[in-house]
């Protein structure tokens, strides 16, 4: 796997660019541990001052340093996205591998469930959840809710890989040597499926951060936790744009766009690397 990553970085421009962007974002998140100001405190620096040497991203109307707030915000948003992606990967893998491998009626049943969930529009359902739980709403609950809506598309992709693996020889060999279904799925098939899981994870992180930002901006999450979305929420509450405090909005939006593009590039380049037919065109076979 390490050799693959090294090859990708050296020869695949998209992967290299994506990796650079994500490293940047990770650096910002890690910087949060060195922040001179705690995340929750307000009115600790003079407010509404534009970006300068002293305050590289300026300060906001709540008296917080935008740069250091952003480090917390991106860390929290990223962590949230990763948790949701991890949870939904588990479901997607279980459903996809089992469905693809066992086939038959199990496959039909699981795919029916899959097609049911894939149709649900996440936003109205999450708003409904927020509406019911209001003050009892927590990040954990939101993560669980989002994970339960974010798995079906990727489960289908994993299933198609599993389907092709089922007919390969090494599967029959494992079966005849007495491995249980669970053993076969975990020890033999999983390594083949991991690259596509990696690609879909990047996508899923994008999706969940996007949804988190959307909900937070409207105020439907715990707005006291600094995330990219809540930063924008507070900026809107203080009518930042009208008041001319553009840096309060621009930097969070800019950084989150960098995150999205970086993750997307990683996922796309990984996908292209896996697909043998696209490899042919990269070998120099573009007609």
């Amino acid at each position: 796997m390490f050799r693959i990553v090294k090859d990708l970085v050296r020869y695949n421009r998209e992967f290299a660019l994506g990796a650079v962007l994500i490293l940047l974002v990770l650096a910002m998140s890690l910087a949060s541990f060195f922040s001179p100001y705690p995340a929750e405190m307000q009115y600790i620096v003079p407010f509404d001052s534009p970006p300068s040497w002293h305050y590289p991203f300026g300060t906001n109307s709540r008296g917080q340093d935008v740069f250091w707030q952003l480090t917390f915000a991106i860390r929290n948003s990223l962590a949230f996205g990763i948790v949701v992606a991890a949870l939904s990967r588990v479901v997607a893998l279980v459903v996809g591998l089992t469905s693809g491998y066992l086939g038959g009626i199990v496959d039909r049943a699981l795919m029916s469930i899959n097609d049911t969930f894939v149709v649900f529009p996440p936003f109205p359902i999450l708003v409904l959840v927020y509406f019911i739980f209001k003050d009892h709403m927590s990040w954990a609950l939101l993560a669980v809710a989002m994970a339960s809506l974010g798995w079906p598309y990727d489960a289908r992709l994993i299933r198609s890989v599993a389907l092709s693996l089922r007919t390969r020889e090494f599967t029959t060999q494992s079966l005849f040597s007495g491995m249980s279904t669970r053993q076969i799925l975990v020890e033999e098939h999983l390594p083949y499926v991991l690259p596509i899981v990696f690609a879909t994870t990047m996508n899923n992180i994008n999706w969940s951060i996007g949804l988190e930002v959307t909900l937070s901006v409207i105020g439907f999450t715990n707005i006291d936790t600094p995330t990219v979305g809540t930063m924008i929420y507070w900026a809107n509450q203080h009518t930042a744009l009208v008041a001319g405090v553009w840096w309060w909005i621009a930097f969070p939006v800019g950084l989150v766009i960098v995150t999205f593009i970086g993750l997307y590039l990683l996922s796309v380049s990984m996908n292209e690397y896996i697909d043998p037919r696209s490899r042919l065109s990269r070998i120099g076979g573009t007609a």
């Binding site: 090859d7 020869y11 490899r279 120099g284 076979g285 007609a287």
Partner: protein
């Protein structure tokens, strides 16, 4: 020409240049390599490495060889269906009905001869027909512009052609997925012969079919060829099919032609050890002898061995075999072989390889 139920297309269409030889197809010192660069590694796979042969008029020339011998690549080059990373590096491909090398044609000229003069039959069980269109649409796409007929007359001609090949006309209304493998292959043969081309390339047309259907399809191909009088280049690894249908036979190994003779002579007395092995491995009813398999594997075409490409697996290998590539030499009328052990006339090849063909016997 047989009395045609489909009228002859206008003579103005035909580019009848004075033929230089009587050959329907003359390939001279053809070389085509796959040039790849992937993640910093450059490779040159010599799939077709210096091949010269000629196909006469009204004959079926069989090309035999195992997989990765370069047969399919050869077909692609001869049909001018070359796509990167495959590149033609040297040599020429001249058809009897053209006055120059096929690669010297402009795109419009090439489009004009496709199907009308040069058609192609492939492994029919795969999907060569557009899956979302009925069969009749494929006939329209391929042949309508060449026939020069009105729509009604065109379909009448198509149905007559199908009838002659013993195909029911309602096959035109079917979708490809509704036809069996054998049926699809028959339809493809009908499609390839409807314009009565001078040259037909057949690429493993019976390989994916079961033996019973194979027999019928082969008969159909032979009848069609005899009726139209076209020449055919027939590629398959199956020697029994060659025995059945080919007039002359050429054997390819590792990108080069190693032997060429009439089918009867090839089977009766194969000169090259590889051909001998191929012929001997065919099962005969009542023959109890064991069939030995060749040791080793075909060479890596990106890095072929020095000398004769077969010498690592050859039971007759000598020192000279390891040193220099043998040239494809004419040892008797209608016979060519590239093996030092087969004939003392065979000498190491010059930089080009096989001696140029010159006049055809």
């Amino acid at each position: 020409m047989t009395p045609a139920l489909d009228p002859d297309p206008s003579p103005a269409d035909r580019l009848r240049a004075a033929p230089q030889t009587t050959a329907a197809l003359a390939v001279d010192r053809l070389r085509a390599y796959y040039m790849t660069h992937y993640f910093g590694v450059e490779r040159e796979v010599r799939a077709v490495d210096d091949i010269s042969l000629a196909v006469r008029r009204n004959e079926i020339y069989g090309l035999a060889g195992e997989s990765s011998s370069g047969k399919t690549t050869f077909l692609k080059t001869v049909a001018a269906a070359v796509r990167p990373p495959l590149t033609v590096v040297g040599g020429s491909v001249r058809y009897g009905f053209l006055d120059r090398d096929i690669y010297a044609l402009s795109r419009a000229e090439l489009s004009a001869i496709r199907w009308r003069r040069l058609s192609y039959i492939t492994q029919g069980s795969m999907n060569v027909l557009n899956p979302v269109r009925r069969v009749r649409q494929s006939f329209v796409d391929f042949a309508f512009r060449h026939m020069g007929l009105g729509r009604r007359a065109f379909f009448a001609a198509v149905e007559a052609h199908l009838a002659r090949l013993h195909l029911a006309p309602n096959v035109l209304d079917a979708y490809p997925h509704e036809l069996s493998g054998g049926m699809k292959q028959r339809v493809t043969i009908a499609l390839a012969t409807i314009c009565r081309p001078e040259f037909i390339i057949a690429d493993e047309p019976t390989t994916a079919l079961d033996v019973v259907v194979q027999k019928d399809v082969l008969a159909m191909i032979r009848n069609a060829q005899r009726e139209i009088g076209s020449s055919m280049l027939f590629v398959t690894h199956d020697m029994t099919v060659h025995a059945n249908i080919a007039d002359r036979l050429g054997v390819m190994y590792a990108g080069r032609l190693v032997e060429e003779a009439s089918t009867a002579e090839m089977f009766a007395k194969p000169l090259h050890p590889y051909t001998a092995h191929l012929v001997a491995s065919l099962p005969k009813i009542g023959d109890p002898t064991r069939k030995e398999s060749l040791s080793g594997a075909p060479p890596n075409l990106a890095d072929p061995p020095t000398g004769c490409r077969f010498h690592l697996r050859c039971p007759l290998a000598m020192d000279v075999c390891r040193a220099a590539l043998p040239a494809l030499t004419t040892t008797a009328p209608g016979r060519r072989v590239a093996c030092y052990a087969a004939s003392p006339l065979v000498t190491p090849s010059a930089a080009g390889g096989a001696k140029s063909l010159g006049a055809i016997q």
